[in-house]
Subunit: 644 residues, 2 copies
């Protein structure tokens, strides 16, 4: 049995388990020894200088290891990852070990200066940066090749020796967090700062956006209700509502950038320097010299990748889009058939039948989205992108285009080919509500129920324990390692994106969409929170300064919605009646208004500053200080040189 300890801390009382490493069953002894040695080895020898301890359960050793680190090691790691913390004078600064005394709440014996999520992020960073020196392969696994500078953990993961690395939950903290988050029925904001401390910035920012977006939809919903109830369909009210919607959606997206800057400034990620991006784990190629790093690493020709993208992925996506349109046409046939059936045999059953095609179609759409998602992941992975960010961008682009068409094609067809506003309203309602129900079910309730059932079985097996709190560390690790892995915020944002589409694209036809969206989002906050706290393994914190490509996606959607809404208003019979003589004038007026609205949108986006004034000032102050420091240094040097 390997009992490895870092040379610094030998007292068990110092050890706080933070991260769990699960190795495959039957991993060779020499591999384990080599790997743990590398983890505890000194920095100077190319080790990570962390603490590691095998987990001992009732069944003996199970190749599960707990990783921790000394307080000093964590502080040095915080400097290495470029963590930004609050200083005593309330400004945010990049943490350095030598300036540690100037930071707020810092004390040599205060082990809570770094949050647990930060500690786990540092350990993950250190583990991933554990690099091969002159090993040619992983000891014991000759087929798992290494070359100098290759990340050991990534190779272990791809060769299957390392099953998973995940951070441990903190039962007590989690209980506190879940109580203040969703434990009690209350009206108020989410505890975003606590969420950030526990789950990291990416997830906290998603919940922040979800909350913000829900609040932002409330005015639309409030105005939408009377429109729906009193069926206000006269011209000016219509136009007013749509114009309000369009400008409102621009304003909320711009204001979000400001909100986001406020949040991420407070969390320090707005100032965090981008780290140099390593090749993503799945990237493979022939060994060559990277011209950027000068290191030997796998290289893959960018031309080959372009060929794969344009000759395989692009045609495939087009084919899928065609298929999706084909399915849509079948749906319209079904719809027609249901209508005919209803006309022939008018009954309660037949009028119920009217909704069946829409519901079937909504289900089919969700299934197609799911299947396509797997295909897109496979293809993007096969395109062999070197960087995770490039992989993500290509994946998001593929998924967004398909989901957009899949979800909205039928609505566009009904609106602009069939000109059937009543059907549009009905389809919109069915699609929106069905997809919301399906999503809530598939995303949160189903996994929650499965997890619950599993937990119950687990508990029965180890029947000695009574409640969650009494679980020993070994039981906790065993339970958590079986939990599902949270795959990131992609699906959550995508759901919001499609919802935003339902709300804004045809807002003037179905003003009630915003109401449903608000209701859905309130339950979504609760079910997503439940999912994060109870269903999934704790994810590693991921520092981020904004919602990235989703901002662009939402903005694009709001541009498209200007076009669709203008056309819808132009087609309404009330507006039509205003131009009795010439359809031409109507179309020209609509086009003019559309262009004006688009121009106003762009000007507004340009005029509203992305960061609030006080954040701008704080950033300017930081920049000024660093330039001053540089100047002082140069001046000293200059004085010395001139003195010589």
């Amino acid at each position: 049995m390997v009992e490895s300890w870092s040379f610094l801390d030998t007292a068990e009382s110092n050890f706080r388990p933070l991260v769990v490493i699960e190795l495959a069953k039957g991993t060779k002894e020499e591999t384990i020894e080599w790997f743990t040695k590398r983890i505890v080895d000194k920095k100077a020898n190319g080790g990570a200088q962390l603490l590691i301890k095998p987990l001992v359960t009732e069944n003996g050793v199970e190749n599960i290891y707990l990783v921790g680190a000394s307080h000093l090691r964590l502080l040095l790691g915080a400097e290495a990852v470029g963590l930004v913390k609050e200083c005593s004078d309330n400004s945010m600064r990049t943490f350095t070990y030598s300036s540690r005394k100037t930071f707020k709440h810092f004390a040599d014996d205060n082990h809570n200066f770094l949050t647990m999520a930060e500690c786990q992020y540092i350990i993950k960073h250190e583990l991933e940066n554990l690099r091969a020196k002159d090993e040619k392969m992983i000891p014991g696994y000759p087929q798992a090749k290494l070359y100098p500078g290759k990340s050991i953990v990534r190779r272990l993961l791809t060769s299957g020796v390392l099953v998973q690395i995940f951070p441990l939950h903190d039962r007590e903290e989690l209980k506190k967090l879940s109580h203040s988050w969703y434990g009690r029925v209350k009206i108020g904001y989410q505890p975003l700062d606590d969420i950030r401390c526990y789950f990291g910035e990416t997830i906290a920012l998603y919940f922040g956006f979800l909350e913000y977006f829900t609040f932002a939809l409330i005015p639309m919903a409030v105005i939408g209700i009377p429109y729906y109830m009193f069926a206000w369909e006269d011209y000016d009210k219509y136009v007013m509502f749509a114009t309000f919607n369009l400008l409102w959606s621009t304003v909320i997206l711009e204001v979000w950038k400001r909100m986001c800057a406020i949040l991420t400034y407070r969390w320090g990620t707005l100032l965090m320097k981008r780290q140099f991006e390593e090749p993503r784990p799945g990237f493979h190629g022939v060994l060559g010299i990277n011209p950027v790093t000068g290191r030997e690493e796998p290289m893959y020709s960018s031309i080959k990748r372009q060929l794969r993208i344009y000759l395989v992925s692009l045609p495939f996506v087009c084919l899928c889009l065609y298929f999706s349109l084909y399915v849509m046409m079948i749906y319209f046939d079904l719809e027609q058939w249901a209508l005919d059936y209803h006309k022939e045999n008018e009954s309660n059953f037949s009028s119920l039948m009217l909704y069946v095609p829409s519901i079937i179609y909504a289900v089919v759409i969700e299934i197609m989205n799911l299947i396509y998602r797997y295909a897109a992941e496979f293809l993007t992975s096969w395109e062999n992108h070197r960087l995770e960010s490039s992989y993500q961008n290509h994946l998001i682009l593929k998924v967004l285009v398909f989901n957009f068409l899949n979800c909205f094609a039928s609505l566009f067809y009904i609106a602009f080919v069939m000109f059937d506003m009543k059907l549009l309203r009905q389809s919109l309602a069915t699609l929106l509500i069905t997809s919301q129900i399906l999503n809530q079910f598939a995303e949160s309730l189903l996994p929650y129920w499965l997890q619950k059932r599993y937990n119950r079985r687990m508990k029965k097996r180890m029947c000695s324990k009574k409640t969650d709190m009494d679980l020993s560390l070994a039981d906790q690790v065993n339970m958590e390692k079986e939990m599902g892995t949270y795959l990131g915020t992609f699906d959550d944002y995508l759901e919001l994106f499609l919802q935003f589409g339902y709300v804004s694209l045809f807002s003037c036809v179905y003003p009630l969409a915003a109401v449903f969206a608000v209701l859905n989002n309130i339950t979504e906050i609760y079910s997503d929170a439940l999912k994060m706290c109870r269903v999934y393994k704790r994810p590693f914190a991921e520092p981020t300064a904004n919602i990235g490509v989703w901002q662009l996606a939402f903005e694009t959607m709001s541009v498209i919605s200007v076009v669709t809404n203008c056309i819808l208003i132009g087609m309404s019979p009330e507006v039509d009646a205003l131009f009795p003589d010439s359809k031409m004038d109507l179309v020209l007026t609509v086009a003019l208004v559309e262009h004006l609205l688009l121009a106003v949108k762009f000007i507004m986006a340009f005029v509203i500053p992305d960061k609030p004034r006080d954040i701008q000032m704080k950033l300017a102050k930081l920049e000024f200080e660093s330039l001053e420091a540089l100047k002082q240094q140069q001046m000293k040097l200059a004085a010395e040189s001139l003195q010589e």
Copy 2:
């Protein structure tokens, strides 16, 4: 007489005059003594540590001073301004004095390592950064208040003690440059690198853009000629030409960004860090503590500025726009009158008269642009912007909006209100050609002629000298100080911007516009070069990485031109004839095509990378190296700390 020398270099042979300082006649002796003392004083004492020497002419001392610097001082200054130079391994790096040996062409005795323009830029930077210590006012001028940290040179300029600071021409270099630039008739590129060495990056980039833009217009011009000659006015050719134009203009603007990155990478400015921006010279306010710098400096409430902008400037601009439209309506009355006159008395004279209103209008437009320009400068200056960049942006916005309307309103009116394509073509041609002739005359030939005449008189006065080359330093300084000041590239870019409008907005109606633009630009290159070399004082080099807000302005113009061209094609009788039954279908088709083209434009702008691959790689390499260096440093620190 003050004969001041820096304490380091006392041998006159070392002194190379680089920059001229002209003080007002009758400046008090104590002021001069204080100022020169500050210039030569040691860095450690808050001086600039430069060399200064009074200019002695036949008439005695005239309060003109020559400033130079020792080689070492210039190298240290190069580090202070963050100059980027080429290393021995062909990569570009920020120059530091300690790493000087690694740079290409560096040798301790090579005084050409820095170009003369760079030396002058460094001296300007050092002079501007000469700051008041505890002086409360400029000695001898109690009304010229100073406070700690205030730039002395700026205060001297605003109080009128300092008349001007300008860099000296290098007669020999200038002769070489002008010979290779415009001295001989040749087909080929401009010597952009030489221009950059002599005039700095901003001006070289303008000439680079002018040249690039001219080349980019050639395909449009070549395709345009047969369209004009054979009057190909059938539908498909029309659409082809316009579509080509629209996509082409997107491509050229995107490719320019890449070209610009290549040029500025080579020149080092792409990598140059932005310096902290000081308040602009004209900024005034009550002394207060700046929250960013923590220094005492004039403060001006941002709300007051907003009020001035929205309550005075904005209404004024609107009024001017209204006035411009009013003048336009008068032009149309005149036009009508000329037409009537021609109908009544048909003669050679009367058909000539047909062109008179257009020519008058073109002249009036130019005059209005000029007057408005002064008003805009006054207003923007009155708005009291703290930063030069903010001042420039507000000025450019004001001028652009007015010039756009002033130049194109009549064309829009003719095209989309009068629907008179023949008149549009005629007006476009007259406006384009008249404005080109006027511009060339007012911008280059007139100043050149005035300068020539002045030079001749000057030479006659000091009749002993025969040629330019024989001029003594004193004569050269005296001649150059009387030359006009080049006010930046604003007017030159504006001219190109309007030309781009003439070419692209109505390209499908008047394909010959591109031909005229190409011809104009070829002469423009020559006359601008002449202007830079012979008419104006040498301007200080201004490092820049791109053409800034003009890129945005050109892109906006190309978006607008998509809209106008689509409408023009939709209105052509040939396209009209394709939809005999329904005007409605025509309009809808045009709107659809327009939206598609706009979408294609945005996608193209998104897909074409802004920097070529090899520049991206070089930048990535630099970033990687600096991160590696940081990591090494942290690792060393970590190892030490953990060892303790």
